[in-house]
Symmetry: C2
Subunit: 253 residues, 2 copies
């Protein structure tokens, strides 16, 4: 499978708190790692505000462009949690109380000794046709509608939701990767690296400079689906770094 | 100034390493915080691949939609650093060697005892009409063309570039914020919070639940440009949290 034939995904991070800098997002890195592992190519991510028009327009654009869309944030009980209503509007369907979601919330409220009030009941609202995504942490479920998966924003809950529904995703063959760390500046290895990349169009080679413990170096990351081609490119790259005096270290990821 | 009249910004994070989960982005949170402080509203952020067609299309869409666009990543010396060429293509101008950028690179190479080879010279290429952005960390400059600011991806360099060119940005009045932390679950405060939000349409109120040291709580963040209105809303909210037994703590941010 070529990279362009691989299923693609878009992550939509919904939340003013990310756009004001109040909160450091960590959900994207988690989803990026897990999707890559199952052979889904994360093609883009967007961070957008808690604004219905923006959510509707962005979601409709992204769900048409990608195999899967994953949203995080905005499914709690307060006035600023508008993701479920916005998703319903994007799909042109009603937002309805989901009986099983209500049952789970009622059970949790009883266990915690709090009232299942109107605000908490908002968390049982799901666009018509939506399928629940379990929340083993705090009961209030996420949901899937067509190719769109709606997750909570709190990282522990989002991660549990992803793990619980990843069986619904169809990935491609896993992308394999190797990292060659060379202790030489990026500008020294750039020219032969470019030649190597031209020899291996099916292996994506990325170059990431670093400075640590008083030494300049470059992490060279090779990615591809064919193990033999990847090994061949890695061996050539290691030899090249050795020639440049870079004392390569090779890490299989 | 109303929030919708405020200058807006978009951050474009360019880099496959973010989309595979190899690297946790921290540039967005930095830019979000600093832009908010100077009264520029960060309206959206996008993470895109090192792909010329994608960069050109996304940049042209975002630079038309926002007052400012800030890009991070892809301006190093290797074959996968294609941001400068892509920006030139988006603007329909030539990518040219910039004499002052070349001078700075030559000086750095001489100091470090490395060759100013063809790969390193790529870092002197700037779209025609571009204005340099200083890089006090490793010399290779960023650049500004019209409303687009092109930064490095390495956080320490990106931050120095932003600080060095922020005098070119025109912001609105600063957005002020207060946080009321209440030790009660989000679902308990949701209804009166919604009523308060309706009373203060000019103050944006966000609700962020947490669980720490064995206690459930909710951080309620109020944001607005009018100090008196913000103080009044904060006082009402604190009284409301007290009534609910939430023992509020108030933090000016």
């Amino acid at each position: 499978m070529t990279d362009s034939a691989r299923p693609t995904a878009c992550v939509l991070i919904i939340g003013n708190e990310i756009l004001t800098g109040r909160t450091q997002d960590v959900n994207l890195a988690f989803l990026a790692t897990r999707l890559t592992e199952i052979g889904v190519r994360l093609a883009e991510a967007r961070v957008i505000a808690d604004d219905e028009d923006v959510i509707v327009a962005t979601l409709n654009q992204c769900r048409a462009a990608h195999t899967y869309v994953f949203t995080t944030g905005g499914i709690g009980p307060t006035h600023d949690d508008i993701t479920a209503a916005s998703v319903a509007k994007a799909f042109g369907v009603a937002l309805e109380q989901h009986a099983e979601a209500r049952r789970r919330l009622a059970e949790l409220c009883e266990r915690n000794g709090v009232e299942l009030n109107a605000a908490r009941l908002r968390m049982a609202n799901v666009p018509a046709g939506g399928r629940l995504i379990d929340n083993p942490v705090s009961a209030a479920p996420g949901f899937q509608i067509e190719n769109v998966f709606v997750f909570a924003g709190i990282p522990s809950i989002m991660q549990a939701m992803f793990e619980g529904c990843k069986g619904r995703l169809v990935g491609g063959p896993p992308v394999l990767s190797r990292t060659v760390v060379g202790y030489m500046p990026e500008g020294t290895v750039a020219a032969p690296l470019s030649t190597l990349q031209d020899q291996y169009p099916d292996v994506e080679i990325g170059s990431y400079p670093f400075y640590r413990a008083g030494r300049f170096g470059t992490s060279l990351v090779l990615r591809g689906a064919d193990a033999e081609r990847l090994s061949a490119a890695t061996a050539q790259l290691a030899a090249l770094v050795t020639d440049l005096g870079g004392a390569p270290e090779i890490d299989p990821d």
